[in-house]
C-alpha cells in the first residue's frame, strides 16, 4: 500500500487512537466464565454475534464495530499493530484471528507464553464465508444458531439471485465503489473480483473499474475513464463530505453521469468488504440504489 | 628556528607560493607583511604544518615538520587565529584547558590546571574563568584564545624545548587596547625560548612590535629586513600600491608611517 509522509502517519495514528479512546478505557466485567476469547477480526466478530456466541469475548480489535454492542468491549489495538502484552493482560484462553495480524512477532510471543491461537481464514468467496460461519458455530457450541442463521442466509441469497436474473436482462448501470484508505489518506476504487464487486453484480450492476483484484488509487482521470452511472462510497469517505451534493463536487466526479445526476450513495464498509449473513440485505440495498 | 627550503604551494593550476627559502629567527618576533592575496596566510599555514607544501620542506630546528607526530607537533607549536567561533557554551576555563589537550591523555593533571590558571592570569581573564565564553566581548574572547594558545606551549623553563607561536592576524577587529595587550603578552614569550611568527596587517603596529620583517608580494618573498628602518619607502610603495610617508615621533624618535592612495601610479608626496 502506498505510504504517507511519516509525520502525517503519526498524526493520523494519534487521531485514530484518541478517537478510539473511549473504547480503550472500558473494562468488561462480564466474562467470568471459563472461556476468555480475544478476537481481532471484524468479520469473525460479526459472525459470532450473529450466532449468539459472543458471551466469551473479552476483547476485540479496533476495527470491530459491528454490531453496536461490540463497542462496549475493550480493544487491544489495531489488528496490524498489536502488542502481545496487551493481549495477554486480558488473560485469554484463546486468541482468535483471521490470519491478518501484525507484527509477526506477536503470534510467536503469544505461543511462547502458552496462549492457544486459532486461525480461521474467511477466504474471499461466499462459500468460504459460509464455511467460516459453520466452523464458528461448531467451535463455540452454537451449532443450532449457526444452522438457522445459515439457512436464512442461503434463502436470502436465493432470492437475491432470482432478482439478479431479472436485472441482467436490462442495461446494467456502471457502478464505482469508493473506499477511503485512512493510512494513505486517499480514496480507493474497488476492483473486480472482490466481494464488493460480486455484490454489485448480484445487484444487477457492473463495476466501472476494469482491473482485477484489490483496490486502485483514485485519480480524476481514472474517474473520468470509469464514467460511472452510480457511485457508492463507504461511510468514512462519504462522511468527509457529508452529503451527495458535496461529494459530487470532488474533482472529476462532477463530470461523471453519477455526479451530474446526484446518484451517490453511502454504505458501511462492513456491509460490502466481506460476505456475511447481512449480504442478502446489502445486495437488496444496492439494488435499490441501482434500479430506483 | 623555522626554516623553509624551496617551499612552493599550488592548488590545481594556481601557484600561491613560489619557491620560498628563508628562516624565521628564534627568540624574535618575526612579522610577515604584504598586501591581501600575497600568500601570507598560506605561508603561515605551511609553516605551521597545517598544509603540506607541494615542493620543498619546512623544518623546526633540524627536523622536518611533517615527520613530527600530531601530538608532538601540538606540544611545541601553537597557532592563534583571527577569530574562533564557538557554537556551544563552554566556560572560559574549559576553552583555555583545551590548550593542554596535547599534554594529557584522559584527565588533566594538577600541573595542567596550574598552567591554565597562570595563562588566564597572564591575559587578565582569571577572574572570569567560570563565565560562559559566548557571553564575552570579541576582545575578551580573543584573550581567552591567547591563554589557550599560551597554555599549549607553556614553557616553565624546566629544560623544555624550543616552542613556536604563530599568530594569524590575531588583532583584526579588536580595539587598540586589546591589540596592544595581546601583542605585549605575546612578546613576553620571547624570553622563554620561543620563535614567534605573526601576520600583522597594520604596518605601524608591525614595526612597533616586530624584530624581523618578511615582505611578501604575489607569492614571493620580496624582501627580508632585520630592522624596521631597513624597510624602505620604495618597497612599501611598490608592494602595497600606496604613497608612503615616514615621520618621526618627536618624543621617542620612532618612525611612524602615513599612507595615501597613489594618483595615476605616479609617486609623489613630500618628505623623506
Amino acid at each position: 500500500m502506498p505510504r504517507l509522509p511519516r509525520a502525517v502517519s503519526l498524526v493520523l495514528c494519534a487521531v485514530c487512537a484518541l478517537a478510539a479512546c473511549g473504547r480503550f478505557a472500558d473494562r468488561s466485567t462480564r466474562a467470568t466464565q471459563h472461556a476468555r476469547v480475544v478476537s481481532v477480526s471484524k468479520q469473525i466478530n460479526e459472525f459470532l454475534y450473529a450466532i449468539g456466541g459472543q458471551s466469551d469475548l473479552v476483547a476485540v480489535d479496533l476495527t470491530s464495530i459491528y454490531p453496536p454492542e461490540i463497542r462496549t468491549l475493550p480493544t487491544v489495538g489495531y489488528h496490524r499493530a498489536l502488542s502481545a502484552e496487551g493481549i495477554i493482560s486480558m488473560r485469554p484462553t484463546l486468541f482468535l484471528t483471521d490470519g491478518n495480524v501484525g507484527p509477526d512477532a506477536v503470534l510467536q510471543q503469544l505461543r511462547a507464553v502458552g496462549i492457544p491461537i486459532e486461525v480461521m481464514r474467511p477466504g474471499g468467496t461466499l462459500d468460504s464465508a459460509e464455511i467460516l460461519l459453520t466452523n464458528l458455530g461448531r467451535y463455540f457450541h452454537r451449532e443450532q444458531a449457526a444452522d438457522s442463521v445459515l439457512a436464512r442466509w442461503k434463502t436470502g441469497m436465493s432470492a437475491v439471485w432470482a432478482d439478479t436474473a431479472r436485472w441482467n436482462s436490462q442495461r446494467r448501470p456502471r457502478v464505482l465503489l469508493m473506499h477511503f484508505g485512512q493510512i494513505i489518506n486517499n480514496y480507493l476504487a474497488v476492483n473486480r473480483g472482490s466481494p464488493a464487486d460480486q455484490m454489485i453484480r448480484w445487484a444487477g450492476g457492473e463495476n466501472a473499474m476494469d482491473s482485477l483484484g484489490g483496490m486502485t488509487r483514485i485519480t480524476p482521470e481514472l474517474i473520468a475513464r470509469a464514467a460511472p452511472d452510480v457511485i457508492i462510497a463507504t461511510e468514512v469517505g462519504f462522511d468527509r463530505y457529508g452529503d451527495a451534493k458535496q461529494f459530487a463536487a470532488m474533482p472529476g466526479i462532477s463530470l461523471t453521469p453519477a455526479g451530474r445526476s446526484g446518484r451517490i450513495y453511502r454504505i458501511t464498509e462492513q456491509e460490502v468488504m466481506y460476505f456475511g449473513p447481512r449480504t442478502p440485505a446489502t445486495v437488496k440495498k444496492i439494488a435499490a440504489m441501482l434500479h430506483p | 628556528m623555522v626554516e623553509l627550503r624551496g617551499v612552493s604551494y599550488q592548488v590545481d593550476r594556481t601557484v600561491i607560493l613560489h619557491d620560498i627559502t628563508t628562516r624565521f629567527q628564534p627568540n624574535r618576533f618575526n612579522v610577515i607583511l604584504g598586501p591581501n592575496g600575497a600568500g601570507k596566510s598560506t605561508l603561515l599555514r605551511v609553516a605551521t604544518g597545517l598544509l603540506q607544501p607541494t615542493a620543498g620542506d619546512v623544518r623546526y630546528g633540524d627536523q622536518v615538520v611533517s615527520s613530527f607526530s600530531a601530538t608532538d607537533l601540538a606540544r611545541k607549536r601553537a597557532v592563534l587565529s583571527q577569530h574562533v567561533e564557538l557554537a556551544f557554551a563552554l566556560t572560559v576555563e574549559d576553552v583555555a584547558l583545551m590548550g593542554r589537550y596535547p599534554h594529557y591523555e584522559r584527565v588533566p593533571s594538577r600541573r595542567d590546571r596550574d598552567i591554565v590558571q597562570q595563562a588566564l592570569a597572564l591575559v587578565g581573564m582569571d577572574d572570569k574563568r567560570r563565565q560562559q565564553y559566548p557571553t564575552l566581548s570579541g576582545g575578551e574572547q580573543q584573550k581567552v584564545q591567547l591563554a589557550r594558545v599560551l597554555a599549549q606551549i607553556w614553557n616553565d623553563g624546566d629544560g623544555a624545548e624550543h616552542t613556536y607561536l604563530f599568530l594569524d592576524e590575531p588583532t583584526t577587529s579588536l580595539d587598540v587596547h586589546y591589540q596592544i595587550h595581546l601583542l605585549d603578552v605575546a612578546r613576553g614569550l620571547l624570553h622563554h625560548d620561543c620563535t614567534i611568527v605573526a601576520i600583522l596587517h597594520d604596518l605601524n603596529v608591525a614595526f612597533q612590535y616586530g624584530d624581523v620583517f618578511f615582505v611578501m608580494d604575489a607569492g614571493r618573498l620580496a624582501h627580508v629586513a632585520t630592522a624596521a628602518a631597513e624597510v624602505s619607502r620604495d618597497l612599501i610603495e611598490r608592494v602595497f600600491q600606496v604613497q608612503a610617508h615616514r615621520i618621526h615621533d618627536p618624543d621617542t624618535g620612532d618612525a611612524v608611517w602615513r599612507f595615501a592612495l597613489q594618483s595615476n601610479g605616479r609617486r609623489g608626496g613630500t618628505g623623506t
Binding site: M1, C21, L82, E85, I88, S89, P103, G114 | Y101
Partner: protein, 354 residues
C-alpha cells in the same frame, strides 16, 4: 540546578534515576507486577525458588516479554542519546540528530529493502543469517545518507545550519519515498510490517535484540568515550582542532561510522524513533555543561531514562493497546526542536557555525 553538582555526582544521580525507571518500567503496564512478584519470578527463573504453577504466566510474561522490552528500550535510548551527542559534535551544531540528517531514515530504507526482497520479516528476525542482513543493510544505506547530508551541508570547512536542515529534509524525503515505494510493491505481510515499524515500537523486543543492541552500543560507546577531548577540540573548528593534534578528517569519518553502526542496529530492531538524539544533549547542555567528556556518558544515561519513561507512557495511556513510540517522541521533541531553532535564529543571524 545540576550546575552545583560535580560530574561524578551527576552520573550517580542519573544512574539512580535509571534504576528507578527500569524497575518502574518492568512493573507497570497492561500486565502489572508488584515488586514482590518480580523478585519471586526472578528467583524462580534463577532456580533459587521453587516454581509455583500459578506463577507460570506471570513469570513468562515478565521474563519473556517485559524484561527484554525494558532493556531494549533503555539501550535504544542510550544509543539515540549518544548518537545525538556525537552528531552534534560532528556537525558542530545543536540542531542535529540521526532522525534529522537521514541516518534513521536511511537505516529504515536499508531494512525495508531486506524486508521486501529478503523473503519477509519472519526470515529476518528468526533466521540466523537473515538476522544479520537487516542491520548490515541498515548500516550501509544509513551511512550513505548521512555522508550525503554531511557533504551537502559543509563548505569551506564550515557547516551551514540551513543547508544542513534542508539537505536532511531532502535525504529523509528520498529515503521515505524509497520506503514508501517498497511498501507499495510489497506483498501484504511485508508491507504491514514496514508501515507499523516506521513508527517505532518495542513490542517485538526479545533477548536476542537485547544482545545485539547491547553489544554494538557497548563497543561504540567505549570507543566514543576516548574522543571526548577531540570532540571538544573540534568545537573550535577543524583547523584549530588540527593545531591541537587532532586529525579532524579521520575523527569525523570514524565518528560517522561508529555512530551509524549503533543507530542502524537499533533502528533495525525497533524502527524509526526521532527527536531523542536532539533533546538529550540539549537538556544536558542547558543543565550542566557542553563538555563532551561529560556529555557522552551523561547522554547515555539520560537517554536510557527518557526512553524508559516514554515506554511506560506508551503502555499506560490506552491500555490494553499501546501507542507507537514515535508519536510520543514527536510530541515531546518537536517543540524542543522549534525552541532551539528559534533561539539560534534570534542569536546567530547568519546560521553559520564553524
Amino acid at each position: 540546578m545540576l550546575k552545583h553538582l560535580s560530574f561524578r555526582q551527576t552520573y550517580w544521580l542519573l544512574g539512580v534515576l535509571l534504576v528507578v525507571a527500569i524497575v518502574a518500567s518492568a512493573a507497570i503496564g497492561a500486565f502489572s507486577f508488584t515488586p514482590a512478584q518480580m523478585v519471586r519470578y526472578l528467583g524462580q527463573a534463577a532456580g533459587w525458588l521453587p516454581a509455583v504453577p500459578g506463577d507460570t504466566l506471570g513469570r513468562n510474561v515478565l521474563l519473556g516479554l517485559r524484561l527484554p522490552r525494558v532493556f531494549v528500550a533503555g539501550l535504544t535510548g542510550a544509543v539515540l542519546g549518544v548518537s545525538g551527542t556525537l552528531m552534534q559534535g560532528l556537525f558542530r551544531n545543536p540542531i542535529v540528530e540521526p532522525g534529522l540528517v537521514g541516518t534513521s531514515a536511511g537505516a529504515a530504507l536499508g531494512a525495508a529493502l531486506v524486508f521486501v526482497f529478503g523473503s519477509g520479516t519472519a526470515l529476518a528476525f528468526t533466521h540466523p543469517l537473515g538476522s544479520f542482513a537487516v542491520p548490515v543493510a541498515a548500516f550501509i544505506v544509513g551511512f550513505a545518507a548521512t555522508m550525503l547530508v554531511h557533504r551537502l551541508s559543509t563548505s569551506f570547512g564550515k557547516v551551514n545550519v540551513f543547508t544542513l536542515l534542508l539537505a536532511g529534509i531532502a535525504v529523509n524525503a528520498v529515503c521515505g519515498a524509497g520506503t514508501g515505494f517498497l511498501s507499495y510493491i510489497a506483498r501484504d505481510p511485508q508491507a504491514r510490517n514496514i508501515t507499523f515499524w516506521n513508527l517505532g515500537t518495542f513490542t517485538t523486543a526479545d533477548w536476542r535484540g537485547v544482545e545485539l543492541i547491547g553489544v554494538f552500543f557497548g563497543l561504540s560507546f567505549i570507543w566514543a568515550l576516548r574522543y571526548g577531548k577531540a570532540l571538544n577540540a573540534l568545537m573550535l573548528g577543524e583547523n584549530e582542532a588540527a593545531y591541537l593534534g587532532v586529525n579532524p578528517r579521520r575523527l569525523i569519518l570514524w565518528l560517522l561510522v561508529v555512530n551509524t553502526i549503533m543507530v542502524a542496529v537499533a533502528t533495525a530492531m525497533v524502527g524509526v524513533i526521532a527527536f531523542v538524539g536532539l533533546v538529550i544533549p540539549h537538556v544536558l547542555r542547558m543543565m550542566k555543561s557542553a563538555d563532551y567528556n561529560f556529555l557522552l556518558p551523561a547522554s547515555a544515561l539520560l537517554g536510557a531514562v527518557l526512553m524508559e519513561v516514554i515506554d511506560i507512557v506508551a503502555r499506560v495511556i490506552i491500555p490494553p493497546a499501546e501507542l507507537p513510540i514515535g508519536i510520543i517522541t514527536a510530541v515531546v521533541g518537536a517543540p524542543v526542536f522549534l525552541g532551539i531553532l528559534l533561539r539560534q535564529t534570534r542569536r546567530g543571524g547568519s546560521g553559520f557555525y564553524g
